[in-house]
């Protein structure tokens, strides 16, 4: 690597505390790119983003610019977004359709949507050289592994490693929970992607996702503001839309968050339970339940609605909020810069009102005008600043350390605010980094 990380990685992670350098050292960030992001399954996108043959989306995996594209055999391919001739990036925009083929804007080499070179202009020039159009050197390189689960496409830049399903383990419930809530058993992407950049290390965001200790503190202002207006609307005799509840729930007192639970799985994945109260007895929900019962039968429907999930974290790159059909993909850009790509989905076959519920959350919590993440991102930035200081070397994850019961590698928190998810993430981190 040639990067002096100035920190002995073996001493950086302890079971209940972590050295601040793992958040701020640019050398460690480079090692993370090599040892974590080049190895794991990374969320690329949803199949419905590339409905038609030739549709593509550009996406970053680790440091690599990649292309998700629908091939003529209908399979979804993930290719390096790079021309094998002189290395030009093939698509500099975000999405589109390749049309007759992938054509490089520099010297017009042409490729099929599986990356295979179709044509090289003036190819006589290559006669007698050691380059032939059939050689793999002339084709776009594919991601070593691509797999999808219920329409959610992942790729890995490593040929070796657990299969997607093995890697997801029980955390695959994130996608089951989203899709099962659709009467047709699948979802469709809403083709708007909000992108928000955090000026902080990627791990700070992941640690926040299942941090039940923070909402009532960080989000008190928004929670209370929404609660006040919610009350006013009720007093006026109306019902406040559910979106007010989404916001006011953030002010739930700190003591109440303990009734939730976090469950830590292998590879750093984790679930926060705590159903978000999405089964009110209003006409919209009742109409939805009718469609669901017709699709699944009463018993199966109850099972589906009984899944008790607030958030699922798929370490190290995806935070899924399955009951509201949205997810945030994490793209680390630098040691102190993290891009989040935020998507939401329609439940196929569900009434429009159910989509609007998710949309309310997407707009209010996940859009660039968010009154919620405004304070999160501010805290993340402050965390990063504090961790870069010499005011102390350790980050504490001692809360309920040693108390969470573990069975077959699955750790269940004793209380919702246990720092179990963070300890679990660093267990995986140390394993990936080869320092456990």
């Amino acid at each position: 690597m040639g990067v002096d990380i100035g920190l002995d990685l073996r001493k950086a992670v302890e079971p209940d505390r972590v050295h601040r350098g793992v958040y701020t050292d640019p050398g460690i960030f480079e090692l993370e790119m090599d040892r974590i992001f080049n190895k794991v399954w990374t969320y690329v996108g949803h199949e419905s983003q590339v409905k038609n043959v030739g549709d593509y989306w550009t996406v970053q995996i680790g440091r690599q610019p990649m292309l998700m594209v629908r091939h003529s055999d209908k399979s979804v391919r993930v290719l390096y977004n790079r021309c094998p001739h002189r290395g030009a990036m093939l698509y500099g925009d975000r999405s589109g359709n390749v049309g007759k083929g992938i054509i490089c804007s520099y010297h017009s080499w042409q490729f099929d949507t599986d990356g295979k070179c179709k044509a090289i202009p003036l190819d006589k020039g290559y006669a007698g050289t050691r380059l032939s159009i059939d050689s793999p050197d002339c084709s776009m390189k594919s991601a070593p592994r691509v797999a999808s689960y219920r329409g959610f496409v992942f790729a890995s830049l490593s040929a070796e490693g657990p299969s997607l399903l093995d890697w997801l383990g029980p955390a695959k419930v994130a996608f089951d929970d989203i899709c099962d809530r659709a009467p047709e058993g699948e979802v469709e992407v809403v083709p708007t992607c909000f992108r928000v950049i955090q000026n902080s290390n990627w791990k700070i965001f992941l640690e926040n996702q299942l941090d039940a200790l923070h909402p009532s503190v960080t989000h008190e202002s928004t929670g209370r503001a929404a609660g006040d207006i919610e009350e006013q609307l009720k007093k006026k005799g109306g019902e406040a839309p559910l979106s007010y509840h989404f916001l006011s729930a953030f002010a739930t007192p700190i003591t109440k968050w303990d009734v939730f639970q976090t469950i830590g799985y292998r590879h750093g994945h984790c679930i926060l339970t705590g159903y978000m109260g999405l089964r009110p007895r209003d006409p919209d929900t009742l109409a939805y339940e009718k469609v669901m019962e017709k699709a699944y039968g009463k018993q199966r429907m109850e099972e589906i609605f009984g899944v008790n999930i607030h958030h699922v974290l798929l370490y190290p790159g995806l935070s899924v909020q399955s009951p509201l059909q949205q997810l945030r993909a994490v793209r680390p850009l630098a040691v102190d810069k993290t891009l989040t790509e935020i998507w939401h989905f329609r439940l196929k076959g569900a009434p429009e009102a159910i989509y609007r519920r998710a949309l309310g959350y997407y707009n209010l919590v996940n859009s660039p005008s968010t009154m919620v993440n405004a304070d999160d991102l501010w805290n993340f930035w402050k965390c990063h600043q504090g961790l870069a200081s010499d005011g102390g070397d350790w980050v504490s994850f001692h809360r309920n350390a040693g108390q969470d019961p573990e069975e077959n590698g699955v750790v269940t928190s004793v209380i919702g605010t246990s720092e179990q998810p963070m300890r679990n993430q660093f267990r995986a981190w140390a394993e990936y980094m080869g320092v456990n």
Binding site: F194, R224, L339, H344, L359, L364, S367, N373, A374
Partner: protein, 183 residues
């Protein structure tokens, strides 16, 4: 110099009067709308949030689309899609003593221009304009620009906004941090 300015002003009034005929009573709609837009910008830059909200009609909406192709914010993702109730949530949040990200000094400066009256019929007026906004926050600056479309209604209290559409030039781009107040 003074003379030149005067003649320019005359000229521009002449052009304007073609696009939006002055009413018989000498009422200058162009000027009235411009003053209204400037006042709104002053509310934002002066952080007079309640005054800002009060410029909206009771059923008024502030809308910042997620993309320029959108024709309504109803049922589709938007950066902002707020009625007066949601605006009041934002106002309360901004003023809450523990709105943490409000602790850092910040301020904005809006310049609104290129105001054209697109339509006037009865009490309904549609005006298009463009804005530049510089924000100072957390010891650095951000620059935003875009266009406004104001659907206005004339009430006894004066002009009020039925719908304000705010198209950011960078609507589809990544946001460094977020937008805490209306733009």
């Amino acid at each position: 110099m003074a003379k030149k300015r005067k003649s320019l002003a005359k000229k521009s009034r002449a052009v304007k009067s073609k696009a939006s005929p002055r009413k018989a009573n000498g009422h200058d709609l162009q000027r009235e709308v411009e003053q209204f837009l400037y006042r709104q910008a002053e509310c934002l830059d002066g952080k007079r949030w309640q005054d800002f909200i009060d410029l909206f009609a009771a059923d008024g909406t502030y809308w910042m689309p997620a993309s320029p192709e959108q024709t309504t914010g109803d049922g589709v993702p938007s950066i902002f899609w707020e009625d007066r109730n949601l605006m009041s949530v934002r106002l309360r949040r901004l003023g809450h003593p523990r709105a943490w990200s409000q602790k850092t000094a910040w301020g904005t400066n809006h310049v609104v221009g290129n105001v054209t009256i697109e339509k006037e019929s009865g009490n309904a007026i549609v005006a298009r304009s463009r804005f530049h906004m510089m924000e100072f926050r957390n010891d650095s600056t951000r620059h935003f620009a875009g266009s406004y479309i104001h659907h206005l209604t004339r009430t006894r209290e004066g002009l009020r906004i039925k719908l304000q559409r705010v198209d950011m030039v960078n609507a589809g781009g990544p946001y460094e941090y977020v937008l805490q107040a209306w733009v």
